[in-house]
């Protein structure tokens, strides 16, 4: 079962990443683009976890953890910029 599901999910998430970047290219507005970036972070987490499952390796799980954290910080910073201009004030 897993032999089919995991690669399939990998394909789906990769496809969605591709579609997300298209959305970012099309825009039309800055908040849209910030959202696509956040969506990409989620995609990346999924891809890394699934890739680890596929390989049977735990070596990359911390990376997923880190993306979750860093993605949050990154998105926060961009949002803050959009809201206030100055992100550290």
């Amino acid at each position: 079962m897993l032999e089919i599901v995991v690669p399939l999910s990998l394909v789906i998430y990769a496809l969605s990443a591709l579609l997300t970047i298209l959305r970012m290219a099309l825009g039309p507005d800055i908040p849209d683009r910030i959202l696509t970036l956040d969506a990409l972070y989620v995609n990346a987490i999924a891809l890394i976890i699934l890739f680890g499952v596929y390989l049977g390796s735990t070596a990359f799980f911390e990376a997923a953890l880190l993306i979750a954290m860093m993605g949050f910080v990154g998105t926060t910073a961009v949002c803050k910029y959009l809201l206030r201009g100055n992100i550290i004030e």
């Binding site: 290219a25 890739f51 910080v73 910073a77 206030r84």
Partner: protein, 928 residues
């Protein structure tokens, strides 16, 4: 002892400066002391040298470059050192009287001794590179001495010209020496002299020879580089007497003699030296007759005699070498005394113009007599030293067969030059000292003080003594010098006052008669000469220098350094692409033979995502925030690529750095205009796009070529030794903190320096807020939701950071990554709660953190010294703790702690200080 011989003048050059305020007499005595001591030292080595011993000393300096400090004293060096020291002493005595009260005694004598030391270095250096160093030093001190009267334009011009010509020649000589060193494999003189056959047969021999001869010809004022010497006559006369007749210009001659065994004996050597020497000798002799300036006449005469000596080296016999050395000594004695006489005339009458001077024997009979003898020696009158060496020269000129069927040309031209030389010697004496009393002169002439004349007396007595008793006075010196020059046994020769009636004597007599006749017809000749177009060497020289060199280099500089960094980068890129492209084109095939792995869809999709994002960044760069978002997608993609290809540590690092960079750019973006107008024309955009495309393509091709080639790595060692040697299973981390720990230490130092540098750059920066037009900002500074959400994140993040740090040695993680995570967690506090709130709770001075990080890392690295181990040796063990279980401990972890602290500190210093920066919104901005 040899060392003190060279050091004495150098040390001595400080004395006159120190004693300058003590008065002229003290200053002069102190100046004379070191050369006098050196001369005594030199004489004390005479017995050894005359027995053919070679005195050497040597220390390694930069052995890797073949540059060693070594000195040698053989016959040749002894001869030149004797000239330098003895004439130097006489010049000091003369200079004491010559210099006026206005001139700085201390500076003059100091420079003179500096030159003396440099010259001693040239003649005694045992290493060719060391000799070039001293050689350049003589050029420099000569420049300073010619320009001693810096307020005079001719002095400045003459000095500049001399420096340019001799300095350029020095560069050529350096290149030549490098080639010689390349051929021989050593710069030591003894090796080079022994390798003459290897040198002559090497295909680079002509290059080496021409370069060395360029140095020789410029230094010894050979045609066509002779023009600097007459203009160097704007120096004070003692300098002219010392540097520009007796010693410095003889450095070229010395070099010819020194390298004679190594370089001579080929067709090229003979042709070059004989032709250059012949033309210089003739040109100098002819022009000298027409010079109305006393020193100008002597300068061209010096050029002519130097040509004669060079010509002698170009004649294919060993006796010619003896004659060359003999004439070098003779020329030094009579020319120095002539210069001093000219100086006295100048000093006592205020003029050096031969047309104004006349009948001075009525006022200064002794000087006139001395000048007469010296000039006679110069003209080669029997009983004088000049006669003997010119006879030898004529003898060799008749014997030689250098030019094949044209060999008769050399004695013919030699006689022609000698006719002129007799004529100008006559002019020097007859026009100045004889004839009617002069018209009005700037000063009323009278005899100079006795001691000002004393050096001339000594030199003139030497001229006579050598001329009459040659075998006794210079015989042994000459034979030992010549023997060490040629490095062989010399053929039999005799130095005698009378060789009987022979062809050279006949030619001499012929030249004398013709010379006297020529002098009697001088006024016609002057009329002829005046019809020639006037040509001023400095004007021509400076014209060439300015129009070609200065203007040309300015144009090139302007072309390259246009003030547009874009153009610099374009040139840089094009050049790099050309270099890499040239190398890539030589690959037999792009594909290296290793079979490629299959492409899977997820990888393809991620690659496409990255490509779209990268192109998006480039295309939309004027919309800065959007471009930044695309850029962070690329960064995320890179992290995924690292994950895909087995680099977990890199994934973690890339992710953290990416976020930090985005925050940094966001901070900057606030302070810069949010968008930029179109700056570049469409053509320019296309041009840049093509260059960038080609550059990217070359890197891509290179990547592909490498990826398809088999791997041969040194990493087997790291993989094998990681656990046993470094005590960790994560090889990447072990490499960082253990195997290549010193690199890492360097890198955290760079990080710390960058942080400090940024702190300094931000200090006192005043920025005007760029108006973000049409943008309305939210009123809420710190949204509550964000703050609340953020609260639990800090301890969580710190825990993750600790976890990543602790496991770093064995599993992906480590100090770099943990440091970045901690820094980001703290930055997040600034983001959500603001500067004031955070700084109330956190000490915002992060500099100690940076410093302690670097220090901990450094001390850990050095700690291994206390155990008698090399730097950065690590120890490791496993500790069993109650709750946490077994924990591996290695000293490398302490090192990693240093890395951690540095990264945290540096990142926070950078970002927090940037965040602190407040633009001045109220003031008018300079932005449009």
């Amino acid at each position: 002892m040899l060392l003190s011989l060279i050091l004495l003048p150098f040390i001595g050059s400080l004395l006159p400066l120190l004693a300058a305020h003590k008065g002229r007499t003290v200053c002069s005595w102190l100046t004379a002391a070191p050369p006098a001591c050196a001369l005594l030292l030199l004489l004390s080595t005479a017995p050894a040298v005359f027995q053919g011993e070679l005195l050497t000393i040597r220390w390694d300096w930069i052995p890797a470059l073949g540059l060693n400090i070594g000195f040698r004293l053989d016959g040749l060096a002894f001869l030149f050192a004797l000239l330098i020291l003895a004439i130097g002493l006489l010049v000091i005595l003369y200079g004491h009287y010559y210099l006026s009260a206005k001139d700085s005694h201390g500076r003059f004598f100091s420079l003179l001794l500096l030159f003396m030391g440099a010259m001693m270095g040239v003649v005694t250096a045992d290493n060719l590179l060391l000799m070039v160093v001293f050689w350049e030093l003589t050029s420099l001190s000569s420049f300073l001495l010619i320009g001693f009267w810096g307020h005079r334009r001719d002095a400045r011009r003459g000095a500049r010209m001399a420096l340019t010509v001799t300095g350029g020649g020095g560069l050529a000589l350096l290149a030549g020496v490098m080639v010689i060193g390349h051929i021989v494999g050593s710069f030591e003189l003894s090796d080079v002299l022994a390798a003459g056959d290897i040198l002559r047969e090497h295909h680079l021999y002509p290059v080496a020879l021409v370069l060395v001869l360029l140095g020789v010809f410029t230094k010894s004022a050979q045609f066509p580089f002779h023009f600097w010497l007459p203009h160097a006559m704007s120096a004070p006369t003692p300098v002219s007497a010392y540097l520009h007749s007796a010693t410095m210009v003889k450095a070229g001659v010395f070099l010819l003699a020194r390298l004679y065994p190594a370089l001579s004996g080929t067709e090229l050597w003979f042709i070059m030296l004989s032709l250059v020497g012949l033309s210089t000798m003739t040109l100098g002799a002819v022009v000298a007759l027409f010079k109305h300036d006393l020193k100008g006449l002597l300068a061209y005469s010096t050029i002519s005699h130097l040509g004669l000596i060079v010509l002698l080296f170009g004649l294919d016999t060993q006796l010619a070498v003896v004659a060359a050395l003999f004439h070098t000594v003779n020329h030094a004695t009579f020319k120095a005394s002539l210069f001093m006489s000219a100086g006295i005339v100048d000093h006592e009458t205020g003029s050096r113009d031969i047309r104004l001077l006349s009948g001075l024997r009525h006022y200064m009979p002794i000087t006139a007599a001395l000048g007469l003898i010296a000039a006679a020696a110069m003209a080669g009158v029997p009983l004088m030293n000049g006669f003997l060496s010119t006879e030898m020269f004529l003898g060799e000129a008749i014997e030689q067969r250098v030019l094949g069927g044209w060999s008769w040309l050399i004695p013919a031209v030699a006689v022609f030059a000698k006719v002129f030389s007799v004529a100008y010697a006559l002019r020097f004496i007859h026009s100045v000292f004889f004839g009617p009393k002069p018209g009005p002169l700037p000063k009323q002439p009278h005899e100079p003080p006795f001691f000002m004349r004393a050096p001339i007396v000594i030199l003139v007595v030497l001229c006579l003594a050598v001329g009459m008793l040659p075998a006794l006075i210079v015989g042994p010196l000459l034979s030992v010098a010549a023997a060490s020059t040629t490095q062989t046994i010399l053929p039999q020769y005799t130095l005698e006052i009378w060789h009987g009636f022979n062809l050279p004597l006949a030619l001499s007599v012929l030249a004398m008669v013709l010379g006297v006749f020529l002098y009697s017809q001088r006024h016609r000749l002057f009329n002829l000469w005046n019809r020639l177009p006037p040509l001023s060497a400095p004007d021509v020289f400076e014209f060439i220098l300015h129009s070609i060199l200065v203007q040309g280099s300015r144009r090139i500089t302007k072309l390259l350094e246009s003030g547009h960094p874009q153009n610099y980068l374009l040139i840089l890129f094009l050049f790099t692409i050309a270099l890499a492209g040239a190398a890539l084109l030589q690959l037999p095939s792009l594909h290296g033979g290793v079979s490629m792995t299959a492409i899977d869809f997820p990888s393809l999709a991620i690659a496409m995502t990255m490509i779209v994002a990268a192109l998006g960044t480039a295309i939309l760069h004027r919309n800065r925030l959007t471009a930044l978002l695309f850029l962070s997608v690329v960064g995320l993609g890179v992290a995924l690529v690292f994950a895909r290809f087995s680099a977990p540590d890199l994934v973690l690092t890339q992710l953290s750095v990416e976020v930090v960079s985005i925050i940094l750019l966001m901070l900057i973006l606030f302070l810069l205009p949010r968008q930029n107008q179109r700056d570049s024309s469409v053509q320019r955009l296309w041009r840049d796009a093509v260059v960038a495309g080609v550059g990217g393509l070359s890197l891509g091709i290179l990547t592909f070529a490498i990826l398809t080639r088999p791997l041969d790595s040194i990493s087997k060692f790291f993989l094998a030794e990681s656990v046993s040697g470094g005590g960790g299973t994560n090889v990447v981390n072990v490499v960082l903190v253990d195997f290549r720990g010193f690199d890492t230490f360097g890198e955290i130092t760079v990080l710390a320096i960058a942080a400090i540098g940024i702190f300094g750059l931000l200090d006192g920066m005043r920025l005007f807020n760029p108006r973000h037009l049409g943008h309305h900002y939210a009123k809420d500074r710190h949204p509550m939701l964000l703050s609340v959400l953020n609260m639990p994140l800090l301890p969580l993040a710190l825990m993750v950071s600790l976890y990543i740090f602790m496991r770093g040695h064995n599993l992906p993680g480590g100090g770099f990554i943990a440091g970045l995570i901690t820094a980001i967690a703290l930055i997040l506090q600034y983001l959500t709660n603001g500067l004031n709130w955070t700084n109330e709770r956190l000490n915002d001075n992060f500099h100690p953190l940076v410093a302690s990080g670097v220090m901990i890392a450094g001390l850990t690295a050095m700690g291994s010294w206390f155990f008698g181990m090399p730097l950065l040796t690590t120890a490791h063990t496993h500790v069993h703790l109650p709750v946490l279980g077994e924990i591996p401990l290695a000293t490398a972890m302490v090192f990693d702690l240093g890395v951690y602290l540095t990264v945290v500190g540096a990142t926070l210093v950078i970002l927090e200080n940037l965040g602190k920066l407040k633009p001045f919104t109220s003031q008018p901005t300079t932005e449009p």
